[in-house]
Symmetry: C2
Subunit: 122 residues, 2 copies
């Protein structure tokens, strides 16, 4: 964790990215960092109904996902948002969506023969 300074992680696995984004608190943290810029865990914690330690844990989860980068400034640690890993997640979804569209096309071409042929959801 703290070993990584600011080097771009290769690319965090989708598990971790999606998992990090699955928590409302963590999404709120990301937005907060995106909107208001870098901040320390202590400062962030003052805006949330959680203890500082809880916020730190969330930030570590986000850092593992590469969605946040920690940078030491004096005795503080500034966390900054890094939306890059979202690209992979979006990519996976668009990919699925595309494949789904292709499948829909195939289903459309198939002659609708009378009764609802099961999968035939419009």
């Amino acid at each position: 964790m703290s070993g990584v300074t600011a080097a771009a992680l290769p690319d965090a696995p989708l598990d971790v990215v999606f998992g990090a984004l699955a928590d409302p608190t963590r999404r709120a943290l990301v937005q907060r960092l995106v909107v208001s810029g870098p901040a320390s865990a202590t400062v962030l914690a003052s805006s949330f109904p959680f203890s500082r330690q809880a916020v730190v844990k969330h930030l570590q989860a986000l850092e593992t996902a590469g969605l946040v980068v920690a940078q030491r400034v004096g005795r503080e640690v500034q966390y900054r948002a890094e939306p890059a890993p979202m690209a992979a997640a979006i990519g996976w979804m668009l990919d699925s969506g595309a494949a789904w569209d292709r499948r829909i096309d195939r289903l459309r071409q198939r002659p609708a023969r009378g009764a609802r042929s099961a999968t035939g959801a419009n």
Copy 2:
């Protein structure tokens, strides 16, 4: 749950969508359904190293997220992929990314006064 036939759920909260996608098995299930078309839990389970019940639970998680739709066909239940809810997830990410870009712009416009312009990733 099983009450819904094929009606589009209002829109599952992001928590649930991201959470559903955070599991590799569930992503594999979605892709399988997208690529090979609708299938029953029993059939799907034969392709995975898990029990049928485990697969059923995953499918229920996906169904809660609206990523999968269950349809009863005779004594079987066919599950079909439904990528629509991904739109909200993608939307959230693009939104964060956009806000981030705006922030970067502001930082870029700001005259680098000595200290850290730091966040200046690529």
